[in-house]
Amino acid sequence: MSVFSEVPQAPPVAVFKLSADFREDSHPQKVNLGVGAYRTDDCQPWVLPVVKKVERLIVEDGSLNHEYLPILGLPEFRSASSKVALGDDSAAIKDNRVGGVQALGGTGALRIGAEFLRRWYNGVNNTATPIYVSAPTWENHNSVFADAGFKDIRPYHYWDAAKRGLDLDGLLDDLEKAPERSVFVLHACAHNPTGTDPTPEEWKKISEIMKRRSLFVFFDSAYQGFASGDLDKDAWAIRYFVSEGFELFVAQSFSKNFGLYNERVGNLTVVAQDGENLSRILSQMEKIVRTTWSNPPSQGARIVSKTLNSPELFAEWKGNVKTMAERVLLMRDQLKAKLQAQGTPGTWDHITQQIGMFSFTGLNPKQVEYMIKEKHVYLMASGRINMCGLTTKNIDYVAQSIHDAVTKVQ
């Protein structure tokens, strides 16, 4: 009798299943608007030129070896990452109250942060602390916090389907009503999946309530640079909250803005009240890391660190990021223009108002099913499309398919 005979088949992770189905589809006009990875106008993955350059430097550097990194990761990577998020002039960094934990992608950073909060926040091992995630949010947020042990994960109002924008009143109301010391997971920019971000004024309102009600700020920053093309602009919310005196976490990912998806490069930036708190926090982070992966992988961190710490390479990287952001912006403009030109029912301003890799089209599940089955255009059941999957070559077909979906399927 097997010990595992009762193990049930788990459903596949949706976004990966979508890609798998896409791969198996032989239709000549198929389009993949699913998983969030950048594509060129030829619909190819893009290894950033600066990354290729730095990788060559690393391979050619005979002095480098494959020894273990410290538990918290490559020191130069950690400090450079936190600086990218908080800014060169960050007072918090100057005050020595900012630290980083190198992690496996943004997911790893979120998980380490979540494990730490469960152990040490709002008491010791308090699994009852409410965790608020946006409605909707990246689907893995729920699992990260649940598997870290939190029992009470709740949605906060975010997406207003009727007006296709931010439900600010709902959001602020949830902040007012949340139990004090609840944790709120905020998307720093380029909200996934809606592409809808609060304006600076709206962020200020959010901040005011969070401070007044002692709510914990946990930023998820997976798209810095990708949203507007400008690193500083995309970090505005993070920096504002830091300047307002919050102790906070930022889970940073370099998967998208460095195109280093499979090297798993991330950093959990910790902003503490002072250096003394910071060192105790980091010592406990070490213990969590040690039983999860012992120490993080070196390749990706080396690439990012070398780039961020060299003025020349840093400038080149910013250029590469701008290239990606601008192609996305172009696709947004063109998609909206085509939908409007076609007279496709509905308003399509949200396509260009939304920001970052994703757009919440507003297509309902039936319409999505139609898009996939009849048109071989693959998108998430939520109606989320990855703008990067659009190219000048397929945009007409996609616009036409959306038109058909909206007019033929209710």
């Binding site: 273990y68 090297e263 039983t291 999860t292 012992s294 992988p297």
Partner: protein, 415 residues
Amino acid sequence: GVNLRSGSFHDFVRSSWWGGVQMGPPDPILGVSEAFKKDTNPKKMNLGVGAYRDDMGKPFVLSCVRKAEAIITTKQMDKEYLGIGGLGEFSKSCAQLALGADNEVMKSGRYITVQTISGTGSLRIGANFLARFHGGPRDVYLPKPSWGNHTPIFRDAGMELKAYKYYDPSTCGFDFKGALDDISKIPEHSVIMLHACAHNPTGVDPKPEQWKEISDIVKKRNLLVFFDMAYQGFASGDIDRDAWAVRYFIEQGHNILLSQSFAKNMGLYGERVGGFTVVCNDAEEAKRVESQLKILIRPIYSNPPMNGARIAATILNTPDLRSLWLEEVHGMANRIIKMREQLAAGLIKEGSSKNWQHVIDQIGMFCFTGLKPEQVERLTKEFSVYMTKDGRISMAGVTSGNVGYLAHGIHAVTK
């Protein structure tokens, strides 16, 4: 204590969320390296963490690794996400390495191997899987002693830890009778952890006849076997010989869990290359198990890092790189064996009256010297020889240049 009630803006700014966070103690193993770095004694020796060093005391990047990296660079591959289970090419060759290509398990497909974040990541995934799906007792039985990180890994995953006798301090060898005795008392369906070869920290491995008896009693007790194989190739220098116990148990019908690491045997430490395998009843069960492993992995790190797995897969699947690798592993194991011989000889030369046979008999990277904590402390303070408090030394840190000094120091604190 810290005022945790909400209050005025000034209260907010003054108090920290983290006032109650205690300073964590330094990691007992990795903390040794930190202390070593700070020491200014030119004769200092780091015999803490198990990372191989060449005879000049330098990190060793294997030639097969450099060659594999050169090949990979020419291929100009993209950096797209791997699947949650990692690089298929890697997982397959990882399983093959452990089980042997002709293994019935490989042929029938009644297993699943996922790429993991080296050995630690593999153990943690296994521990999480057990915590969620194992219907038996919560207890995982570790040999006494075991790798220091085993306990917190299983604990953090929600399992409980117990131990079975293993090391006999009076002989510095295997307490075979004690082990069998303890194992025979383990409640049915509990999980038992076995080190496949080169036991960490003692270097004491059961002989084949002893493994056979262990297998029998484990079978009698209906225990779930979890093998930790972090040193395949490093124990005897022979990949197949080091995997003997794993293969024997499978042959005997145990559907094992297996953690593998390529940190040491390929020198890929910082690239984090490992695998976790579950041997199942059939391919259908393997598919179900795989689906659940993915559900566990996704909220930890989504999918594993490519670089190291690509290097390992290239080596394992390119015939002349694989041959080169086997030679280099053999070379590393041989250097360690030689250092053992020289250390034992050195101690005799120093005039030690103690029995140091175990230094030669023990196998793999580590030697359980038998030194007591006070003696270890003296060795560190007076001779700048850094090791863990349990008396474990990493033979990999010993060179022909410093083995004499080490013998001298050990003799000084034990005479």
